[in-house]
């Protein structure tokens, strides 16, 4: 059985029929620099056609452009970011972010860090970590370009976050993951189930350490761009049973999380998670967690 057949068969068992997808390019307008409507008008005057993404407040599909939208004056001024539509969801799921201390545990190249800063209106503080120094240059450029002023970035493995001696109100765990075929045409040739299991293990290790730095009434948003349940529902089920975390109801694009994975029954509250099969967006998984009340 080919690698592709193996994974496609798994998706079928999870209730989804594989289809290849062509993704529309998406942007997110940074409202901290300017009015959203003004950026839209400026881009349209350059012949770029935009269509509002119905499930996002600041997201737009690029429906027509004769040149790269990553090379306009407006892009270079930080008025918008290129950010895939599903990837724009996690940062929007936190309740009140203004003036909070926020951890972005795997921050580079910085799309979600900038989005958090935008939602926070540059108040409070974001502590942005990444384990790969090379990717942190991209993060620095992104922060400078988009005029972010509330972030401190460290070259640090998220599993060592306790070294910072900080407690966080909000934690974004945009996990290092196996990715999905919608954004990588060679995905089926590159990935094996062993990669998936290794990533799932790493994600659990990050969750363990992140939870130790979460304030009592804090919130975690967990996200992957993996379709593999080991990195998604099975990890959250494990966190509920082992870390004293509970899922929170979220209102966003996507289907309910799976509570039956290859015959294994999971905690019913996994339904609060959202699984996004590739169609309009790439594949994605997201959920919001808090410490279980009776364990606080």
């Amino acid at each position: 059985m080919s690698s592709k057949d193996f994974f496609v068969n798994r998706y079928r068992q999870l209730g989804w029929k594989y289809t290849s997808v062509e993704l529309n390019q998406a942007i997110r307008i940074n409202s901290m620099s300017t009015e959203r409507i003004d950026v839209k008008r400026r881009l349209e005057s350059r012949g770029i056609q935009l269509e509002k993404i119905p499930f996002l407040e600041a997201g737009f599909w690029i429906t027509k452009s004769d040149f790269s939208v990553g090379a306009t004056t407006e892009y270079l001024l930080g008025l918008y970011s290129l950010q895939e539509a599903a990837a724009q969801i996690p940062a929007t799921l936190f309740s009140e972010l203004k003036d909070k201390i926020v951890l972005d545990a795997s921050a580079a190249p910085g799309g979600k860090t900038v989005q958090l800063a935008d939602i926070m209106h540059n108040t409070g503080a974001i502590i942005a970590l990444d384990v790969e120094k090379r990717r942190l240059s991209a993060l620095s450029n992104h922060l400078e370009r988009c005029h972010v002023s509330n972030t401190i970035a460290y070259h640090l493995d998220a599993r060592q976050v306790r070294r910072l001696n900080l407690k966080f109100d909000r934690i974004l765990l945009d996990m290092p993951c196996s990715g999905n075929f919608a954004t990588d045409k060679e995905w089926f040739n590159r990935r094996t189930i062993e990669d998936v299991l290794n990533n799932a293990k790493l994600q659990r290790e990050i969750m363990i350490e992140a939870k130790k730095t979460l304030k009592e009434d804090g919130e975690i948003v967990y996200a992957t761009c993996s379709l593999e349940p080991e990195e998604d529902e099975l990890n959250i089920d494990w966190a509920i049973k082992n870390l004293g975390l509970q899922t929170q109801n979220i209102d966003c694009y996507g289907e309910k999380g799976l509570t039956d994975v290859f015959g294994k029954k999971l905690d019913a509250s996994i339904q609060n998670c959202r699984r996004i099969w590739p169609q309009e967006t790439q594949g994605f998984f997201v959920c919001k967690l808090k410490k279980r009340t009776n364990l606080r």
């Binding site: 400026r42 990553g70 090379a71 004056t73 270079l76 001024l77 201390i101 409070g124 503080a125 502590i127 942005a128 090379r134 942190l136 240059s137 991209a138 993060l139 620095s140 450029n141 922060l143 400078e144 370009r145 005029h147 002023s149 509330n150 972030t151 401190i152 970035a153 460290y154 070259h155 910072l164 900080l166």
Partner: protein
Amino acid sequence: MRQISNFLSKFNANMSLDENLVVKKDDRYFLLDLNLKSLIRNDFLYAGIYLGRNENDTFLPSFNLLAMMARTEANKITVDEKSEWLFICGRDVFKRGITRLSGPRKRGDYTLILNEQGDCLGFGRITRDLNDRDEGKVAVKNIADIGDFLRRESTQKRHERF
């Protein structure tokens, strides 16, 4: 801090930065607020507002600092849409592309370059007397422009390939 102050004075930019909130990391300067200052550790990589860096005794400003200067009475030249595009591609500004001037206009003066919307695109140095009527000659030599973000991206990609 002296390098930053000297740089600002070249543009007649009347702005002051709180020295207590400016931190230096290797050759780079960052401006913090009190909250970030209370949280930061010495081993940070980036923090607050990046102001610029020293290279061989020359201060190279960030585009954040230039944007802050553009909100003051600093020397400014506004250019038309065509010159805007050429400027961010690294080209110099011709006299005919200038639509507004603010501040001195003598040869050798430094000036910010703005587009018609008032966004700061970078800075340059005036190469000839701007009262001169010859429209077809270079008026401002490009020193830094926001197209640098793209040039940095390509450099990073090149490094990633090897």
